[in-house]
């Protein structure tokens, strides 16, 4: 880890905070030795996913769509052992960061604190364009996987997008106004 990165990461947690997820990432490395999620990690992932894609305005969120359960099964089928370890390490890093910042595990945080925590990850991930910081690279991957799991689920597709299993025809031009939902297939 370069000093420049440490400083950059710190900024996002505000002055006075000494937490750097990248350090936590590295320090918790030895803890992750199983490439299969346990029950607690699935619950944790569910809460992370819900923070990213919350239930809102009566529309389902990540927990309604059982995104964590899907990811658990999907990574077992489709990921290499190393990719699974990285993903699990990523959610543990989020949890350890929560403990360092708020003295509580992520699942015990209130909505505002959860948001604040992942916001820091999100901003840092955005700044991490060169992919130098593995903790944030993996956070971006985790987020993409959550989005994939949600918008390909039945509630995600049918309620949060427009789902037309059998469109019946194609029109090259229909009017669009802000607020109209995307087609599920876009």
């Amino acid at each position: 880890m370069k000093r420049r990165d440490v400083l950059r990461t710190l900024v996002f947690f505000g002055v006075g905070s000494l937490i750097n997820p990248a350090h936590i990432w590295m320090s918790c490395s030895p803890k992750v030795d199983r490439d299969i999620m346990d029950e607690g990690q699935i619950v944790l992932l569910g809460e992370i996913a819900e923070t990213i894609l919350p239930r809102h305005k009566g529309l389902p969120g990540a927990k309604d769509a059982r995104v964590a359960q899907f990811i658990d099964q999907h990574i077992t089928d489709c990921y290499t052992g190393q990719e699974r370890l990285d993903l699990i390490q990523c959610i543990i890093t989020i949890d350890e960061t929560a403990k360092a910042r708020f003295k509580k595990s992520f699942v015990r945080l209130g909505a505002k604190q959860r948001f604040e925590l992942l916001q820091a990850f999100d901003r840092a991930a955005k700044a991490n364009k060169d992919k130098e910081n593995i903790a944030y690279t993996n956070y971006s991957k985790l987020r993409s996987l959550i989005v994939f799991g949600f918008f390909t689920s039945e509630p995600g597709m049918k309620k949060c997008l427009r789902y037309a299993a059998i469109p019946g025809k194609y029109s090259g031009q229909i009017a669009y106004k802000k607020g109209d939902k995307i087609w599920e297939f876009n």
Partner: protein
């Protein structure tokens, strides 16, 4: 050889044998059956019954354990096949696995196979364009390969003939570089595609932009309804098999039609080993097969044999059909069998963004894209590379995989992803490659597959012409998108292996002279006149069009010729 099980020769004798039930074999079967010949189709793969065996066709994304993505184990077992964009969790049963179907790569070549009744007619992308006069004249004018023994006029009526039956949607554009056909209603362009079309066409007088032509029933005619097919529902889940029979496949169209005549026998699980040649009559008498499952050998006999196993498989069968008359493969007196193989250059793609058009959207999934017929070297040689390329593009609005403005979390993020994003454009090339003597397939001398057939060795590569053409596409494509008002234009070399275009052609080329070609102008072997090859193996050059429509037309024309010759007693 195992267990030679020759039943009564009479039981196993037909008027015609067709090897392969894919796009071209299905057409051969239909034409023979329509003309009253008792026809046997030998197909190496499993049977696939129309509709009934399209097991994933009506599934929603969430009904697949991995929502369409392939499990790691399958990817690891199929490193070649996994590179094919059409191979996914929903379509995997319609492709042939790498492990059980080995071949040897003298140079990297991705050979994508769909061994089953219907072949690749189930999994293809259904884009169909006629060749033009310029395409058939290409080799003669530019001095590569050999002159085609036919011209556009020879094939034009047969294009019409197969288009009417298959059902091709398209617009009458009146272009000499991409002749019109017998079209059903065309698909529409969206607003951005139209805007790009207008801006390119007003700036470049030599470039035409049209809606793609494809084998989809936009508005079925009586002939399509008679086949039991119905209108395209714009689902674009085609490669799972279409329960509406809305796109052309052997399974939906030619094979059931042939079956209804009562003249058709399909023998699935029949891996053709070789064609049997009779020294006395100077004719092929039949075909030797190995049962896919029992490995038992059987022989079938017929007056005429059509080889439609798809380009490289047909080469393999002919190379393996040796006799004392033809020690190097059937009809191969000149040593050119397996040589002059070519494919399509897909190296270049370009992506771009375009502002505006926020009040427009589209409905449904269109199974085609925008097409720009070749504009390079059409009338004379103009560039530092030979021949040219066709360009495809399409525009769409950003989906939920995009990055939105602001933070990527929370209810605002979720809401933003639920709405369409800005427009983007994707463009790609489909270039002609030059058939060369060193681009070849041959048989392994020491390795065989589980059916005792020598493995095919593929020795095909890109050359300078292909990279120059790619670079020309990059600069022309970029300039055109700039003119069309795009920004953030990015070129990308796919770096894909030859073969992944799935447009492999040649090896048994047509030509006028038996010294320099294997087939005559009717796809008939110069040296064994009752054997016809009408799939991609017959192609003298590749041009820039998606090839299968041309295979269909060549096949129907060749059957017509074969039956006339039989009636005259010449076959």
């Amino acid at each position: 050889m195992v267990n030679l099980n020759i039943k009564g020769k009479k039981d196993n004798t037909y008027d015609a044998i067709v090897i392969g039930s894919g796009i071209s074999g299905g057409w051969a079967a239909k034409e023979f059956c329509d003309k009253g010949l008792r026809t046997l189709v030998l197909e190496r793969g499993k049977n696939v019954v129309h509709v009934q065996d399209y097991t994933t066709a009506m599934k929603s994304p969430w009904e697949f354990p991995n929502r369409g993505k392939l499990p790691l184990k399958i990817k690891e077992d199929n490193p070649i096949l996994s590179r094919c964009y059409a191979y996914g969790e929903d379509t995997k049963d319609l492709f042939s696995d790498d492990k059980n179907h080995p071949y040897l790569q003298d140079k990297p070549f991705d050979w994508i196979r769909s061994y089953q009744v219907g072949g690749k007619s189930l999994t293809w992308a259904r884009q169909t364009q006629r060749w033009s006069t310029y395409d058939f004249e290409g080799p003669l004018r530019d001095g590569y390969a050999v002159d085609w023994p036919i011209r556009y006029e020879d094939l034009a009526p047969w294009y019409s003939y197969v288009e009417r039956f298959a059902g091709i949607s398209g617009n009458k554009d009146g272009l000499d570089t991409l002749p019109d056909g017998e079209f059903l209603q065309p698909w529409e362009m969206n607003v951005v595609e139209k805007s790009i079309q207008q801006r390119i066409m007003s700036h470049y007088k030599d470039r035409n932009v049209i809606i793609g032509r494809c084998a989809h029933l936009t508005k079925p005619d009586a002939i399509h309804l008679q086949q039991g097919r119905s209108q395209c529902m714009a689902r674009r889940l085609c490669r799972r098999g279409c329960p509406f029979g809305a796109y052309f496949s052997s399974n939906a169209s030619t094979l059931p039609w042939a079956a209804r005549t009562g003249n058709l026998t399909i023998r699935p699980d029949a891996v053709v080993h070789s064609i049997i040649y009779d020294e006395e009559t100077g004719r092929a008498t039949g075909v030797r097969i190995i049962d896919r499952l029992t490995k038992e050998a059987t022989e079938y006999f017929a007056h005429v044999i059509f080889v439609n196993a798809s380009a490289l498989n047909s080469n393999q069968i002919l190379l393996n059909s040796t006799s004392s008359r033809f020690p190097n493969g059937l009809g191969n007196d000149n040593g050119l069998l397996g040589k002059y193989v070519a494919f399509h250059n897909y190296l270049g793609t370009i992506s771009a963004k375009i502002d505006g058009f926020q009040d427009s959207y589209y409905y449904g999934r269109r199974p085609t894209s925008i097409v720009m017929p070749n504009f390079r070297n059409v009338h004379k040689q103009e560039t530092d590379f030979l021949r040219g390329y066709m360009v495809f593009y399409s525009a769409k609005r950003g989906g939920w995989t995009r990055t939105v403005e602001g933070e990527q979390l929370g209810s605002d993020y979720k809401e933003a992803l639920s709405e369409p994003g800005d427009w983007s454009v994707f463009m790609m090339m489909q270039g002609e490659t030059i058939p060369k003597e060193q681009s070849k397939v041959h048989l392994s001398k020491d390795q065989t597959d589980q059916w005792g057939i020598p493995l095919l060795r593929i020795d095909v590569d890109y050359d300078d012409n292909d990279t120059k053409m790619r670079d020309d596409f990059f600069s022309e494509g970029t300039a055109m998108l700039e003119k069309a008002g795009c920004r953030d234009i990015k070129t990308r070399d796919r770096k894909q292996n030859p073969g992944l275009d799935i447009h492999e052609m040649g090896g048994v080329r047509m030509g006028k002279d038996p010294k320099t070609s294997l087939l005559n102008g009717f796809n008939q072997m110069h040296e064994c006149p009752n054997v016809f090859v009408t799939d991609g193996a017959c192609m003298t050059s590749t041009s820039t069009q998606n090839p299968s429509l041309t295979f269909m037309a060549l096949t129907a024309r060749a059957v017509d010729h074969a039956v006339k010759e039989m009636k005259k007693g010449n076959l």
